[in-house]
């Protein structure tokens, strides 16, 4: 199978899947909001918000399925929560309590890696290691646009291609590496670069969780079917600064920031599913109530 462009994917998801996508996006958004608040109050030392990237994260994480092993970067909070990381486990490392607040083995969601791109080689090595032992070798690794400049990312793509490793690379291209725009980080795209190494790839917009889900489902099928790597580059928006220490107003125009906020994947998907009657106010209230409880527990633990 060759990956097709986004528009060629029919998004014929069932309503259960759609609600699941939205639910995970809402949970991620609310927990992220709470974490930002906790950080401002001094309860967390640092927070790297995933706001604006929820559709990409939830769509991809749901598509790859629970049997996959995920090697995250450090901003995949929506993936973490979907995978079963509890909110208080998620923030523990940003509160300075531990280097990893959850059980990586049980959740098959490995610790965040703060040295950029180092995890890409681990992911490929892990997949090869699993295959050699006759175990499940499907691995998903997340990486940012900026991190792809590190030599390790290229080495990992070459290794995955040569070994035909069952690795799905997901690059969330949020347009920025702190203050460096992605256009100045590369001449082409991460997707084109992957093809240069012999890895099938596709580049898609990351506003709509359904198309992300569809593309990542097919990419998953490709990796599993061909036992060959694949890369999906998802264009997303970063709502806030790189981290809570970063004032993006210094290097990013007010219009650009405003534009980002307008294209909010969470509110857009709420509106869409509401419009389609897939969710209603009652359902949304239930989710918000569920989230409220999670937030309260988080606040009790940290504030």
């Amino acid at each position: 199978m060759a990956l097709k462009s986004e528009s060629e994917y029919a998004t014929d998801l069932d309503d259960g899947t759609r609600r699941s996508l939205l639910r995970h996006m809402l949970v991620a958004r609310r927990i992220d909001e709470e974490a930002r608040r906790l950080q401002r109050q001094g309860a967390l030392d640092l927070w790297l918000s995933c706001q604006g990237q929820e559709a990409a994260q939830v769509g991809s994480a749901l598509a790859v399925g629970p049997a996959s092993t995920v090697f995250p970067s450090y901003r995949e909070h929506a993936v973490a929560l979907l995978r079963g990381v509890a909110p208080d486990e998620l923030v523990a490392q940003w509160a300075g309590r531990t280097f990893c607040g959850w059980d990586p083995r049980r959740l098959r969601f490995f610790p965040y890696t703060l040295v950029l791109a180092a995890q890409t080689l681990h992911a490929v090595g892990y997949s090869i290691g699993q295959r050699l032992q006759g175990l499940e070798d499907f691995v998903v690794v997340y990486v940012g646009d900026g991190a792809t400049s590190e030599g390790d990312m290229s080495e990992a793509m070459n290794l995955a291609a040569v070994e035909s490793a069952a690795v799905l690379f997901i690059c969330q291209n949020n347009g920025w590496a702190i203050s460096k725009p992605a256009e100045e980080q590369m001449r082409t795209s991460v997707a084109e670069r992957a093809r240069g190494f012999g890895i099938e790839s596709v580049r898609i917009a990351g506003q709509d969780p359904e198309s992300v889900f569809s593309v990542c489902s097919r990419a998953t099928a490709h990796v599993r079917g061909q036992r060959a790597p694949c890369l999906v580059e998802i264009q997303v928006s970063r709502f806030h600064g790189h981290s809570s220490s970063d004032a993006q107003e210094v290097y990013r125009s007010a219009e650009d920031i405003a534009r980002t906020r307008v294209a909010d994947p969470v509110t857009a998907y709420v509106a869409r599913l509401s419009g389609l009657g897939v969710v209603n106010a009652r359902w949304l209230d239930d989710v918000e109530a569920e989230v409220r409880e999670l937030r309260e527990r988080l606040v009790k633990e940290y504030a």
Binding site: D45, L46, Q93, W94, A95, G96, R97, T98, F99, L114, V115, L116, G146, A147, S149, E150, G151, D152, A177, I178, S179, K180, E184, Q185, S245, D246, V250, Y251
Partner: protein, 326 residues
């Protein structure tokens, strides 16, 4: 305890860089986020606006690229002053630094003398997340062809930078993150260092020599002042850990007869080991007791909640001095 107000380290380095850029057209800055943002610590703030994006260059996100590219630029006659965002992120550039930058001079039979400076924010004590609080200066101090500076004040950083850009071989300057904005400091002996590369006796004393460098020099001075009634501590601020000004250290130990080395980087096979070993060799007869080192044990810098246990504080320094002199 007399404290003095001074410019923060960040402000001081910013002014020096501006001045150097002004004076020498061959100089340029290169690093992640140093331009538009002015650096994650804002040390280079305003410089891109003032000197343009050609000379204050937002590099690609790749440390090997930063140093490898700087080596090439240096060969072309420029003097790149690089910034690595945090100490731990120097590791992807170790190969370019150790096997390339440090060896160009020798490989070219002295015909090339790359002017190349790397500024590295270092050290802990600000509740940083994993990899953001390390002190790895001792790694590079081993390697020939690289000089390693560890200023503890803005004035020292200024003097070091001005010297480094003229040296013709790579210099790493470790800048303590927790001094970037600190404005008050324990007063120091006014006598300046003998040369840009010399250590400096920042407090004269008769009973015991503490050799130290970098941010923790401030804690050492604080401890020395606090103990002043009981023990007269001499404090040597190395300023450079490669090469080390052993003459100043030996001279001090010969006067006091006792040596304590204090540093923030971990103890084993560290700068303190080198100092202690050299003193135990060259000033053995002057020693009135065991040489001692006070530095974190050989374990990873812990999560923020535990950094207090990891780091050496004023109290430990005082305790150690008292044990050694009682």
């Amino acid at each position: 305890m007399a404290t003095v107000r001074s410019a923060g380290l960040a402000e001081s380095i910013n002014a020096t860089l501006a001045d150097l850029l002004e004076q020498d057209p061959r100089l340029l800055l290169l690093g992640e986020d140093i331009g538009r943002l002015g650096g994650v610590f804002r040390v280079t703030r305003g410089l891109r606006e003032r000197f343009g994006e050609d000379r204050v260059r937002d590099s690609l996100l790749a440390e090997s690229t930063i140093i490898g590219q700087a080596v090439g630029m240096a060969m072309s006659g420029l003097v790149p002053v690089c910034e690595i965002q945090f100490d731990a992120f120097t590791f992807p550039a170790v190969n370019q630094l150790v096997t390339q930058a440090a060896r160009i001079g020798g490989r070219w039979n002295g015909q090339a003398s790359p002017g190349l400076v790397v500024r590295i924010p270092t050290g802990g004590g600000f509740r940083g997340v994993e990899h953001h609080s390390e002190s790895n200066e001792a790694l590079f101090a081993r390697f020939p062809g690289i000089s390693v500076a560890c200023p503890s004040t803005g004035e020292d950083a200024d003097q070091i930078l001005r010297y480094a850009v003229t040296l013709g071989s790579p210099v790493l300057m470790y800048e303590p993150i927790r001094l970037y904005w600190r404005r008050d400091a324990v007063a120091r002996d006014p006598e300046p260092a003998r040369s840009p590369t010399a250590a400096r006796v920042v407090r004269r004393g008769a009973d015991l020599t503490v050799v130290t460098y970098g941010a923790i020099t401030h804690e050492v001075l604080e401890a020395a002042h606090a103990l002043a009634c009981d023990v007269d501590v001499e404090v040597v601020d190395l300023r450079w850990v490669a090469p080390i000004d052993m003459a100043t250290v030996l001279d001090s130990v010969r006067r006091t007869g006792r040596l304590l080395v204090v540093h923030e980087g971990s103890r084993d096979v560290g700068i303190g080991a080198e100092i202690a070993a050299s003193v135990a060799e060259h000033a053995f007869d002057a020693l009135r007791g065991p040489v001692r080192r006070l530095a974190p044990a050989r374990r990873a810098y812990p999560p923020a909640d535990f950094e207090k246990d990891y780091m050496v504080g004023v109290q430990e320094i005082k305790d150690e001095v008292l044990v050694m002199t009682k």
